[in-house]
Amino acid sequence: MTAVLTVDGLHVDFPLPGDVVHAVRGVDLEVRPGEVLALVGESGSGKSVTAASILGLLPGTARITAGSIRFEGNELVGLPEKRLNVFRGAGIGMIFQDPVTSLDPSFTIGSQLGDTARLHLRVSRDEAREVGRTWLDRVGITDPERVLRSYPHELSGGMRQRVMIALAGLSGPKLLIADEPTTALDATVQKQILDLLLDLTGETGTAVLLITHDFGVVSHTSSRVAVMREGAIVEVGETAQVLGAPEHPYTRTLIDSVPEIGQRHSAGGQERRLLSAAAHTARVHLSSETDSPRPSPSPRPSPSPRSGRSPRPGGSAGLGDSTGPNVLASPAAGRPILEISRVSKDFTVGGLGTGRHKATLRAVDDVTLSVRRGEIFGLIGESGSGKSTLARLAGGLLPRTAGKINFDGTDVAAAGRELRRRFQYVFQDATTALNPRIKVGDQIARPLLRLGKATGRRQAAELTGRALDLVGLSAGYADRYPREFSGGQRQRVSIARAIALEPDLLILDEPTSALDVSTQATILNLLLDLKDELDLTYLFIGHNLAVIEFVCDRIGVMHQGSLIETFSADELFAADRQPATRALLDAVLPIGAPTTTKG
């Protein structure tokens, strides 16, 4: 079987002033006709750069320095733009990650589809419109006429990605490169888009090179998988084989980093840590390599028994493991620490002076919930369901329209300095949540002084050092700026900033959504450790049901501004779950059982 695409010894360099970054170092890859090959790896592994080099779409100054890319026997490396355009679209189609920015904001969908149809199919303007209509129909858009007249901003993310698929598909390519096609989409939409992609390419026998970081997506879609790390491919094979019995330790670590839905039960519900398999393989500790601030060489020397884990005084882990604080802090036993009762939040748009009608959007609608002391309460919902707004209301960051929010019996809106210290936030994107121009030590110390936790600079510095130490960064990092840290380290700094104040409640707003799976695993473990050591309560907002189920004791599901149900994490699979919860559950793509029938 001759391959559609053959990549041989590909090297790609990014020249920087005074330095060269070798993004891709000798990648060999073969995509066979009609197959779905997944290229999986963490951010910075070079998978997207590899994909971009195939069509000559490398950004900026990046250059292919060696290797060959052959499409149906034609060498693509070194071709001028004009000759490459023969293959672009017609031979190889491409779908990009972000459907929001990948469509031209100034032209209608009909115009963009029409332009592409006329370029590749040599049809008239009217025929091109008809082609566009047919394709919108094929990608499952029910009202193609309206969508043809729409601008990209008038469509949802899922709709836009369907349009992208139509754009890439209508020229009838032999190979489709999909670069993280569902990463920017909601979980419930992800599966629909992937299935659509598989159906369409299956019908036409188009081969797919799917770039992703999500093993659930790999398992759901691909017949073969290639695992990439630091610019090279470490393992290639049949998907079922690689996922079931990975040969390379790195693959194993990656897979073990991902919380699987239902894994909570096998972990017993009390000893919940990820990367538990790492001890059985060679000493591959991803956390210590890509995210290496810990002074000790191995952050998690003996993952399953917890005895040796807590060297710090004050932790309660000194006693036997079977009686960890999680057991004592049985969720039902705790008193409520945060009580949200009948809270609503309206946002107003338009009105006098804008020339538009005044309109009110209800982001949070009559939500009542209480978070008990010592538990981890998970709040989940699709984007736009109001979960982040509720998180901001909970700490009084936004004024509420109606309802009451009490923290430990006192209204948060009237919270003084002492009370405010006791609930702290960790936000999703540590890059923007930290001030880029202030040393991280100062960012941790300022609230300490401001909220009266430290009486002087010296004490503040001491507490800052201790907080950094607790999150696995050494106190010496206090003098650095946020840009000097990796994504995972920055999130550690955010956590340090919050816990330095010795709060009772941490409001975690998607704390790991922007992180790679291995980094996510270390941060989740860190959060679970800190909770035990510092006796914390978490309100954990997320959109990944597997993470929420793994970490949390109780789960609340938000849907269109309302909290539709609350249940113990053990009861996630109970028969009487609400439809919206079921939709979230169905959207989870498990790694374990590949469902693909392709190949």
């Binding site: 779409l57 672009r88 031209d104 100034s106 370029l119 008038e154 992208m164 020229s171 538009r356």
Partner: protein, 316 residues
């Protein structure tokens, strides 16, 4: 959309009122005394007082303002203190000439600014781009009057291609072609700074658009460079072009005032200079008010155009 435009028009009324207040009271606050400047030293105190009364200068500032406002609507802006004829007869013809020069300047600004910016933007980082940016850097720091004199020296004195000044050839028929010939040099001189500002913004917009995800999408579909540059980048840089052009109209107008003097253009600039020298308040106030109105109207047009160019606002 229509609703938004109407709303912007309604907003103009209070804005113009505030502008008229500012124009009137700021010039009132000046140190010059029109009577002392206009009349001879020999007049007695009673005579001066008489004249003050005749011109209403003895009244309170507020009633003077109301008077002036009424004159603006009914009396052609009142009577000039130095020429003793209605202000409108002095200011309006000059204003029209200034508008002609301003419009020509704007056209040169947009055409050359976009050309330079586009040419530099699509060669981002290459020698041609760096050379263009150096030119922009130097050019936008040149004093307009000096630049104007150089242009006159080159085009009129040295090569004798263009007239050295004025609006019409005195011996000619005063036709449109003659006017255009007289416009070239002053419009070019007056547009220098704003043209280079526009060029800078267009260059940035071209670079941003060229690196955008949606242009990458077009490239991945095999669209040729010409189609991408002409249609898609071209369309997406229109908003910044309109925006900067609207913003630079301010510097165009101030530039025009200088340039009029150098090129002996019979516009508002020279009228205002004479009026200031003679403390002719009615003329100063009317002239400044007209300039302010131009500002406001240009801003309005800019805003409406930007709304029209943005699909998000157009369909709102």
């Amino acid at each position: 959309m229509t609703r938004q435009i109407l709303w912007r028009l309604v907003n103009l009324v209070p804005l113009l009122f505030v502008i008229s207040l500012l124009v009137f009271f700021i010039s009132q606050a000046g140190p010059a005394d029109p009577i002392k400047d206009v009349l001879s030293q020999k007049m007695s105190a009673e005579q001066i007082e008489q004249i003050r009364q005749a011109y209403g200068l003895d009244q309170t500032a507020w009633s003077q303002y109301l008077h002036w406002l009424r004159d603006m609507f009914t009396n052609g802006g009142g009577i000039s203190l130095s020429v003793r004829s209605p202000v409108s007869g002095i200011v309006y013809p000059a204003f029209l000439n200034t508008l002609i020069l301003g419009a020509a300047t704007t056209v040169v600004t947009v055409v050359l600014g976009v050309l330079i910016g586009f040419a530099a933007g699509i060669r981002h980082g290459r020698p041609a781009d760096r050379a263009a940016m150096l030119f922009v850097q130097i050019g936008s720091n040149l004093p307009i009057y000096w630049f104007g004199l150089i242009i006159i020296w080159l085009t009129a004195v040295r090569w004798n291609w263009l007239p050295a000044g004025g609006m019409h050839d005195l011996r000619g028929d005063g036709g449109f072609g003659d006017l255009l010939l007289h416009l070239i040099a002053p419009a070019f001189a007056a547009s220098l700074v704003s043209m280079l500002i526009v060029a800078r913004f267009v260059r940035a917009a071209v670079i941003e658009s060229a690196q955008s995800d949606y242009i990458r999408t077009y490239r991945s579909q095999g669209f040729g460079r010409a189609a991408i540059l002409g249609k898609h980048i071209g369309r997406n840089i229109l908003p910044p072009i309109v925006n900067t052009t609207g913003l630079t109209v301010g510097s165009v107008i101030t530039g025009v005032v200088f340039v009029e003097t150098i090129f002996s253009w019979p516009g508002l600039g020279s009228v205002l200079l004479n009026a200031i020298a003679g403390s002719d308040y009615p003329v100063i106030q009317s002239g400044i008010l007209l300039v302010a109105v131009v500002f406001v109207v240009v801003n309005l047009i800019t805003d409406v155009l930007l709304d029209l160019l943005n699909p998000r606002l157009r369909h709102a």
